[in-house]
Amino acid sequence: MTLTLDQVRRIAHLARIEIDASEADAVHAKLESIFEMINRLQAVDTQGVVPMSHAQDVSLPMREDAVSETDRRADYQRVAPAVEDGLYLVPRVVE
């Protein structure tokens, strides 16, 4: 499984990270070497092995469905790049 330059452009698009043409080849080469290392896993027989998604086999705890958060909108919006009237501002997406 080798990674093509087109695939690198595709995942950069999915990850919403701009990669300009001048750096694409270098990024591609480093990702290829990383995947070459990860590909060592392909040689391991894992037939029937249950994937381990977490350090502990415990189920997630449940809690009462009660309000626990206080209103801290002003605090949280103080660190936002652009807000107005309590709303986050982003470029227009619907004309």
């Binding site: 990850a15 701009e18 990860i38 896993l41 391991v44 415990v58 103080r78 986050y88 997406v93």
Partner: protein, 492 residues
């Protein structure tokens, strides 16, 4: 005065030989004096620290002070600290001021510690050398031309240079233990779920673990008493009885305190990949354990050799998801120019993240993408299970596992920056404990001829922190590697 161990400083504060205000003032001066050479701190909060020190002295005067009251500490800049910058070593959060405290920050505050500042780190905790920080690399106090390890390199350097007696770190693949090893101090990664991740800016959620750095195992135990505990705000925080991590340390055990202890030596940790001086120092530490009454048993952890590829099949996937929140909308950097919303995301993230962070996001995006999920992500989780099974078998034959923390001592700046895979392999011995979730500590066990520290890793089964700390403590009572101080810290 301020270069003592946490326990020693605590005794002097309790005896009123010193005040917290005096101690903290001296600490702040030492930090200033070494900042240019070490770059260990991103933020120093002089006024806040002195106010906290005054409050700690007042609490002590009223007789309402625990062992940590008035002790200056530093937090890794991945942990949220209300009202103080929390940068994660990234341009993305260079101007971010945390609106609340992380759980471990709250715990240490409640214990009366004085927060003097936030320590430098690899960007978003991704790195093994501290060279990926937006704020420039931290330098190793033992040799300023060498890395301190990473990602918690600032905390490690600050403790090694005796700027603070203790500091917090976080460990996702070795980010506490490897820098502890490279700077000659102690660093503990507790069992996953023992210390809450609330307020820890997420990298890989099933692996991220907060833990302490200090000069001694005893000091790590004192820190753990304030860092551990159930927290409903982290759904993976474990609800278990409160432990006193120091409880085994004061028991008198005579000349053979490790009598009966079965020390497992994993064959995979003693192969050809180790630097010869590292191998020799670890062998000498094993011999010391035997002198103290332990017996050794060789064990096999065959799947552990795959821990680096497993990690890079899992951690970047988690990172690509966790770091999607940095989009220039709610917090952090936003690009100055863009055409539309998607362009804003792309440029914001291209500018805000450094090369290593972007690399890992791209790896993770690919691993999770349609058609590759089973081949990479699920496969890695299956081999993760095989590694955990190896450990479960080993625990039938031994009580602790011992080996080097890192295959080599501190390397020079630039040595591994062009080859990410070589950098990743520095964590070959530490990653497994993150994958299984079990605790492990790195303690100093010797020096190279060039004067670079060497770390010994002690791993235990789940929830064996107190036992691991006890073993480390007995070793430290018989040896003095942990008491060695780098020249730049001693020359005052």
């Amino acid at each position: 005065m301020s270069d003592g161990t946490l326990a020693a400083l605590s005794r002097r504060l309790a005896a009123r030989e010193i005040s917290s205000v005096e101690l903290v003032a001296e600490t702040l001066d030492r930090i200033d004096a070494h900042q240019k050479a070490l770059n260990a701190f991103v933020t120093v909060d002089r006024d806040g620290a002195l106010a906290q020190a005054k409050a700690a002295d007042a609490a002590r005067a009223k007789g309402a002070a625990g062992p940590l009251a008035g002790i200056p500490i530093a937090h890794k800049d991945v942990l949220m600290t209300a009202g103080l910058p929390t940068t994660c070593g990234s341009r993305m959060l260079a101007d971010f001021v945390a609106p609340y405290d992380a759980h471990v920050v709250e715990g240490l505050k409640r214990a009366g510690t004085v927060l003097v500042g936030k320590t430098n780190m690899d960007e978003f905790a991704m790195g093994s050398s501290n060279e990926t920080s937006y704020f420039g690399p931290v330098r190793n106090p033992w040799d300023l031309d060498r890395v301190p390890g990473g990602s918690s390199g600032g905390s490690a350097a600050a403790v090694a240079a005796r700027l603070v007696p203790a500091a917090t770190g976080t460990d996702t693949g070795g980010s506490i233990r490897q820098p502890a090893s490279l700077t000659g101090i102690c660093g503990l990664k507790p069992t996953y779920g023992v210390a809450s991740r609330y307020g820890l800016i997420a990298f890989a959620s099933s692996l991220d673990t907060p833990g302490p750095f200090a000069q001694t195992a005893e000091d790590c135990a004192l820190m753990m008493n304030a860092m551990a505990g159930h927290d409903p705000r982290d759904s993976t925080s474990l609800d278990r009885p409160v432990e006193d991590y120091t409880r085994r340390l004061s028991r008198s055990k005579g000349a053979r305190p490790l009598e009966g202890l079965r020390v497992g030596l994993p064959r995979e940790y003693f192969g050809k990949g180790n630097d010869t001086e590292v191998a020799a120092a670890v062998q000498a530490a094993v011999a010391e354990f035997v002198d103290l009454g332990a017996r050794t048993v060789e064990v096999g952890l065959p799947a552990v050799d795959l821990s680096v590829p497993v990690y890079y099949g899992i951690a970047p996937a988690a990172a690509s998801s966790n770091l999607s929140r940095f989009d220039g909308v709610r917090y952090g950097h936003r690009a100055a120019r863009y055409d539309d919303l998607n362009d804003m995301y792309r440029k914001t993230r291209a500018e805000g993240f450094g090369a290593e962070v972007k690399r890992r996001i791209l790896v993770g995006t690919y691993v999770l993408s349609h058609g590759y999920y089973d081949a990479y992500y699920v496969k890695a989780q299956q081999v993760r299970r095989l590694i955990a099974d190896d450990y479960a078998r080993a625990w039938r034959e031994c009580d602790i596992l011992v080996g080097p923390t890192a295959p080599s001592p501190a390397f020079r700046f630039g040595d591994k920056t062009d080859d990410p895979v070589q950098m990743y392999l520095n964590d070959i011995y530490t990653i497994a404990a993150n994958l299984t979730g079990a605790p492990a500590i790195s303690i100093p066990c010797g020096f190279t001829r060039a004067g670079l520290p060497i770390g010994l890793q002690i791993q235990g089964d789940y929830f064996s922190e107190a036992a691991i700390l006890d073993v480390a403590h007995r070793y430290q009572q018989a040896t003095d590697w942990h008491a060695r101080v780098p020249r730049i810290a001693a020359a005052e």
